[in-house]
Symmetry: C2
Subunit: 248 residues, 2 copies
DNA sequence: CGTGTTGTTGAAAACAGTCAAATTCGGTGG
DNA sequence: CCACCGAATTTGACTGTTTTCAACAACACG
């Protein structure tokens, strides 16, 4: 129902939210680009797309044509195996790129699902390739973003491969708050956009374990947990959980 | 001691093993490139480097300058956290690329260690960027390789997040044999280049669990295990382990 | 103001981890 | 050539964490 209303809003924003004047430009694809590059990028990123909560931006198997930069809202990406196992591979917020997995095959290999009503900038991939042959800085920036995704994934492997439930949840919360803080939100208070099950899938835990661990953190005075409203009471304590337990 | 001897061998091979005539070209960076692109790539990949078993090709924190294509031998990559946790993030064999993590920061974020005496082709990154602005196919191929790495990482997350010990080891073995087979080796018999501990780190398990699981597979007639010599007796059985257990 | 979804909690079971000891293997030096 | 050494592997017994199953509570939505 808001898709209709949004059409006009979208149109009016098309000018306003060009990359060059987007308040996400320091977090998104345009990082570090100079004026001429930026102007060309503005031309490239002409269309936007609204995705309602619960809808998919793309699905595994869909033909790959574009990358998407989250403008507003919140996404998860999940892979699944033939036998029905599935795994949340990441949560994406404003300024983060979706769809890099699709380049390998010309097909997406994961689902991207909006966890709240969201808006993305559509970046036609073949045009991005064209443009990045012309502008060295854009090329370099794009490569950095892909590489950063690889490094991020390695961090998740470290988490999944070597941390216990409490450490995983603590690391997850610290990561979320850091990213929210970089976007101007509070460092100590947040609203989770995902269910316990989705957190569990991401962290390689069952939802009950996630719930129990939240409760434990609350009992220990690290957090205040009211369903999806989280207040961080002892950031240092959480950090210590991540670092401390192995090394004594 | 063999570094000295290798110098002459290296020199004599410099001509012979140009990408255009390399028997790995169907697995490596040159996949799908036409003649002119290939000739330029030959010029780019001029130097090689020998890495003895146990030595590092690069370490986390090292300045990033080049990518490396494995020519012969076998590597592992590991990340480690400040507090001393570490995690093997992958094993690389002939034709596979090392160092993509370094692009994000101009520093490597993991260690690459040779698990046997190895040789890599050195691909100076800034030159690769230059060349891939000129040759669309090379640019595209490079992007595909990075994207493929992201997809691979998502697969590892699925493994770490949703599989039990037996399933992980079965998946690991199937993956190894597939890759070995693509390189002309037997599909049913292999020699592991890594220790139980390294397998365990990759799979998020302790070395004892890896060892026990090997023994269990042997008892069940799936494998013949003699230290690092593995013979696969029941490929279908392994495959079933990966697919079957959840879905009944 | 119900109804279905999401979240919490408890008890028991399954799984992997820990600690410890024994064994095998590859390589080195006598 | 053989004996020995250290590293890697195997195996056993036990412990601890996480999962499973189940019931219940809280919340969001229509």
């Amino acid at each position: 129902m808001c898709a209709m209303n949004d059409t006009s809003r979208l149109k009016s924003e098309t000018f306003k939210v060009a990359c060059s004047s987007c308040n996400l430009r320091e977090l998104c694809l345009p990082v570090g680009l100079a004026r001429p590059d930026l102007d060309r990028l503005d031309a490239l990123v002409a269309t936007r797309r609204t995705v309602s909560r619960g809808d998919t931006l793309f699905r595994a198997g869909d033909e790959f044509q574009s990358l998407y930069a989250v403008r507003t809202g919140f996404f998860k990406t999940c892979v699944s195996s033939e036998d029905g196992r599935d795994q949340v591979t990441g949560f994406q917020m404003a300024g983060e790129l979706l769809g890099l997995d699709g380049i390998s095959n010309d097909r997406h290999s994961c689902d991207a699902v909006a966890l709240e009503d969201s808006q993305v900038c559509v970046i036609p991939y073949s045009q991005l390739e064209d443009l990045s042959r012309e502008f060295t800085d854009l090329q370099h920036q794009f490569h950095k973003i892909m590489s950063r995704e690889i490094v991020r994934d390695h961090g998740v492997m470290l988490l999944l491969g070597s941390m216990r439930a409490e450490e995983r949840l603590a690391a997850f919360l610290m990561n979320l708050t850091q990213r929210l803080q970089a976007r101007g939100f509070s460092a100590s208070s947040l609203i989770l956009r995902m269910t316990r099950e989705e957190i569990g899938s991401y962290l390689g835990l069952k939802l009950e374990t996630v719930s129990r661990t939240f409760s434990k953190f609350q009992d220990e005075g690290l957090l205040e947990v009211k369903q999806r409203h989280i207040r961080i009471l002892d950031q240092a304590g959480l950090q210590q959980l991540i670092n401390g337990s192995t090394g004594c």
